[in-house]
């Protein structure tokens, strides 16, 4: 996978000019990557699938790239150094997720997601017994409302960590934060969430 950008660009140029051999080369070069990406995404979403589904989605990705005179393929620029492989992998992932969404496998939303057990105490105000004060649905609405009040960066952190289940280290890596900074954001976001929930329920927790 150490092909140069120049090599990929030359291959793309030949594809754009209608060179079938080049199109074939491109498909063969990235077929494995697309197949694995499709598989991984389906597994990550806990969706049952068979070999036929893999083939269909694999082929859908390549059709998407080449249809309408390589319309999608022509969008690749690589101007910041993005490799063709990284770009195609992201397209494969998105294609599968969009397909699942159309099929009714909804995107996981905040209120339906699991919160890691070890994090639950942090989300609950120390002395507040949520269950006894407000209904569960109301808790969820409150949490969502509170989430929307967080600054975008904090909200993204909370979604990646609590909603999507990435570890703090993984979130730090994804958001290019130091571990220390990631924990600071986490702590701050939780405090803000607690504070908002408390004020909405007229309760003053010990912060």
């Amino acid at each position: 996978m150490n092909r140069s950008f120049e090599e990929d660009r030359q291959l793309l140029s030949r594809c754009f000019s209608g060179d079938r051999k080049a199109s074939e080369t491109l498909v063969r070069r990235f077929s494995g990557l697309v197949y694995r990406s499709v598989q991984y995404t389906l597994m990550a979403k806990n969706v049952s699938f068979d070999i036929q589904d893999l083939e269909d989605l694999h082929n859908t990705v390549f059709l998407k790239l080449f249809e309408q005179g390589c319309k999608k393929l022509r969008q690749y620029q690589g101007k910041n150094g993005c490799s063709l492989a990284s770009w195609i992998r992201m397209i494969a992932v998105r294609t599968v997720l969009d397909h699942l969404r159309k099929k009714g496998v909804d995107a996981m939303v905040w209120q339906k997601k699991r919160v890691p057990l070890e994090e639950l105490p942090e989300l609950k105000a120390d002395d507040v017994e949520f269950g006894s004060q407000i209904e569960k649905a109301e808790q969820e609405r409150l949490l969502q409302d509170s989430m929307q009040r967080l600054p975008p960066r904090d909200r993204l952190f909370v979604k990646l960590h609590f909603d999507q289940g990435l570890s703090v280290a993984e979130v730090a890596e994804a958001m290019h934060l130091s571990i220390g900074n990631a924990y600071t954001i986490k702590h701050r976001a939780i405090q803000r969430l607690k504070s908002h929930v408390a004020s909405a329920t007229n309760y003053t927790p010990n912060l």
């Binding site: 199109s23 083939e55 059709l63 249809e67 150094g81 993005c82 960066r153």
Partner: protein
């Protein structure tokens, strides 16, 4: 107002740390409110960083072949048309599948430009009309035993034009058998169930390839 979704290159640049601070903030602002993009980023991030978490199967050769044929045959018809035809063809085929002997194209979307129609003559015999370029053929697949079948490629018409036409049976890249039409038909005997392709060619001129699968199904199964 919601910011339009960043394209795939921008999301990759974000994940791989190639954006300026300003661009990074813009993407993060979008991700904090867009579940679609958030999930794409999370799945990709996990995949890149943790390839051992799932055991992933390598791509089967026939899947790559089907994509190659799908992509390289696009010149003859628009992609949407091609996809619709492929889906329709497969849907029709599946609806006529025998209960005991199942012969179907590779995948739900048959990738080759050659498509066949099928009738089920008996539980153990399936006949397919497969038009190659300029040559109409009939392919009979007859179950001859457990996990085995005869494949007959017949020429119901235009026999004269097929002089020197070679029929090749392949499993993936591997050639199983190849023969010239003799007496209007070619038989491949005791072929194990599986994925195959039949190609017709004459003097280096390719008449097309038909991809199909022979498999046993349980009574009452699909």
């Amino acid at each position: 107002m919601k910011i339009p979704c960043p394209d795939e290159e921008r999301l990759s640049d974000y994940l791989e740390g190639r954006l300026s601070e300003e661009d990074r903030s813009r993407v993060e602002e979008h991700l904090s409110d867009c579940q679609r993009c958030l999930e794409a980023v999370v799945v990709t991030k996990r995949m890149v960083g943790d390839t051992d978490r799932f055991e992933l199967d390598p791509v089967p050769a026939e899947v790559t072949e089907s994509a190659v044929q799908l992509v390289t045959s696009q010149g003859t018809m628009s992609c949407g048309t091609l996809m619709e035809k492929l889906k329709r063809s497969v849907k029709n085929t599946v609806s006529k599948i025998s209960d005991t002997l199942q012969v179907g194209p590779w995948g739900r979307w048959q990738p080759a430009p050659v498509r066949g129609s099928k009738k089920v003559a008996s539980d153990d015999l399936v006949c397919l009309r497969v038009p190659f370029k300029g040559i109409d053929t009939e392919i009979e697949i007859e179950k001859t035993g457990s996990n085995k079948a005869h494949i007959r490629v017949k020429l119901p018409e235009a026999i004269k034009r097929t002089e020197g036409v070679r029929v090749t049976l392949k499993a993936g890249e591997r050639e199983i058998a190849s023969s010239l039409f003799d007496g209007g038909y070619v038989v491949f005997e005791d072929i194990p169930f599986g994925h195959y392709s039949i190609s017709l060619a004459k003097d280096g001129l390719d008449f097309g390839t038909y991809l199909f699968e022979i498999k046993e199904t349980l009574h009452g199964g699909r």
